[in-house]
């Protein structure tokens, strides 16, 4: 038993956090909050107590109550979720420290103390006005992105794609005649591309969107699925890097989901070489209100796999 557990000041003011089992290799845990379901101001104050002074200041600088709440929930979700994965003892979510890597990707800064083996956790968050999500993996980096299904762009979709997407992706989008379907496929592509860049963790400029292509590939050799038809479980999502065509970025595994009926969510994670190709990629999803409840929504209508070889 790690003696350090007893030295950590766990404030009696916080309800206990239910500990969590680490994801297994090639498994993703996805946690999300629906901000509209979190209205209790006492609870929001508790969340605020978890934050570092720096984080609290960032939250206060957000313009408007909804944006403040969103920023607060995002930090509370990350802190409580990661704290719950401590296998040896209960970690105080308030004492977690975060930093950014060289390129700005947030990561946990583990204390370098004797006998403390930090779990090999990786995480990434994304939020919209209606959802805050946090993806967690072990051993390998992860990137996630969520967008509201109803998201509209101010710019013309094809003009935007021509400016930022790869030629193949422009072709796929241009071939869609129904503007609503085109818009949906655009949003899906956007989330996948964002998730990939975030997984790589080197920033937008290191991997410009134009330099890689997302392809849907399935057994019938069609290149995309209309949303109405049922998606074959066999459909895979492939990332091809135009910078290095010999390496089709097969290091990275992507999946596309519909979450809570309202959002598209993309997950991208590095394949675990040690676990090997045989480890089936698994996904478990919870809707959560930190300190209050977790609802496992995997296998329900709240999580639909739209693409990528992943099982719930």
């Amino acid at each position: 038993m790690n003696i350090r557990c007893f030295q950590r000041n766990f404030s009696a003011a916080f309800p206990p956090l239910v500990p969590l089992q680490l994801p297994s290799p090639m498994e993703t845990h996805l946690w999300y909050i629906l901000p509209d379901e979190v209205k209790n101001s006492a609870l929001l104050n508790q969340y605020s107590e978890l934050l570092s002074p720096c984080e609290r200041e960032s939250v206060s600088r957000m313009r408007g109550d909804q944006l403040k709440k969103r920023a607060l929930l995002a930090r509370a979700l990350v802190r409580t979720t990661i704290a719950r994965y401590q296998t040896n003892c209960q970690m105080n979510p308030r004492s977690l420290r975060f930093r950014k890597n060289l390129y700005g990707k947030p990561e946990v800064e583990w204390r370098n103390e004797d006998n403390f083996n930090p779990p090999p956790l990786h995480f990434n968050i994304s939020h919209t006005s209606a959802m805050i999500a946090c993806g967690v993996t072990v051993n390998v980096p992860i990137g996630i992105d969520i967008e509201e299904k109803q998201r509209r762009t101010k710019n013309n979709i094809i003009a935007f794609a021509q400016r930022y997407f790869s030629p193949y992706e422009v072709k796929v989008l241009t071939a869609i005649s129904d503007p609503e379907v085109q818009r949906q496929e655009f949003i899906k592509l956007w989330t996948l591309k964002e998730a990939y860049v975030k997984a790589l963790g080197k920033g937008f400029s290191a991997v410009p969107f134009k330099t890689f292509t997302i392809r849907f590939r399935d057994t019938t050799m069609r290149n995309f699925h209309p949303p109405e038809s049922s998606v074959s479980e066999e459909s895979d999502i492939v990332v091809e890097s135009s910078e290095d065509p010999t390496d089709p970025a097969n290091n990275w595994r992507c999946a596309l989901l519909e979450v809570a009926g309202s959002h598209y969510g993309a997950i991208c994670m590095e394949k675990d070489r040690i676990a090997g190709e045989n480890a089936p990629p698994k996904l478990t999803v919870w809707k959560t209100v930190p300190f209050v409840e977790d609802v496992c929504v995997s296998g329900t209508d709240a999580v639909l796999v739209l693409g990528g070889m992943i099982e719930q």
Binding site: R61, M62, R63, G64, L67, H127, T128, S129, D145, E147, R151, T153, K154, N155, A159, F160, R163, Y164, W190, E194, G203, F204, S205, P208
Partner: protein, 137 residues
């Protein structure tokens, strides 16, 4: 281009350099029109001296307008040079849309490494002015 124009100015500067930014603007647009004489009351300044490093007010205003529209900022909330996109609620798609809107408005191309460093309205305006003056040079 600016230095070329400065070297051809031969009259004495009678005025203070308070409005050097404005003179810079006129110099650039004047050169764009292809004329060579500088006969209408420009305040000359040595081209190597940058009196002000801030972006032009009109650029800042235009950026504010584009940002406000993209992020649907309510009219009672201020959007100024110091405004950070993230604090106004911009996510990555918003930011890219803003950059694209700025490219179209100002006729420039913003590379990804520049786009990534834009955090505030002022950052965007300064980059725009830099790219615009680079174009006409």
């Amino acid at each position: 281009m600016a230095s070329l124009a400065a070297s051809s100015i031969s009259f004495q500067p009678p005025h203070a350099l308070a409005t050097s930014r404005v003179s810079g603007l006129k110099l650039v647009s004047f050169m764009n029109q292809g004329r060579n004489s500088l006969s209408f009351g420009l305040r000359p300044m040595p081209a190597r001296v940058r009196i002000s490093c801030a972006a032009k007010p009109e650029t800042v205003d235009k950026v504010c307008e584009i940002v406000r529209k993209q992020l649907a900022v309510p009219s009672d909330k201020p959007v100024t040079g110091e405004s950070k996109f993230a604090e106004l609620g911009a996510d990555s798609l918003d930011t890219v849309e803003i950059v694209m809107g700025l490219e179209e408005e100002f006729g420039i191309t913003v590379e990804e490494d520049n786009a990534q460093s834009i955090a505030t309205v002022l950052d965007a305006a300064e980059l725009i002015d830099k790219l615009c003056s680079g174009k006409s040079a």
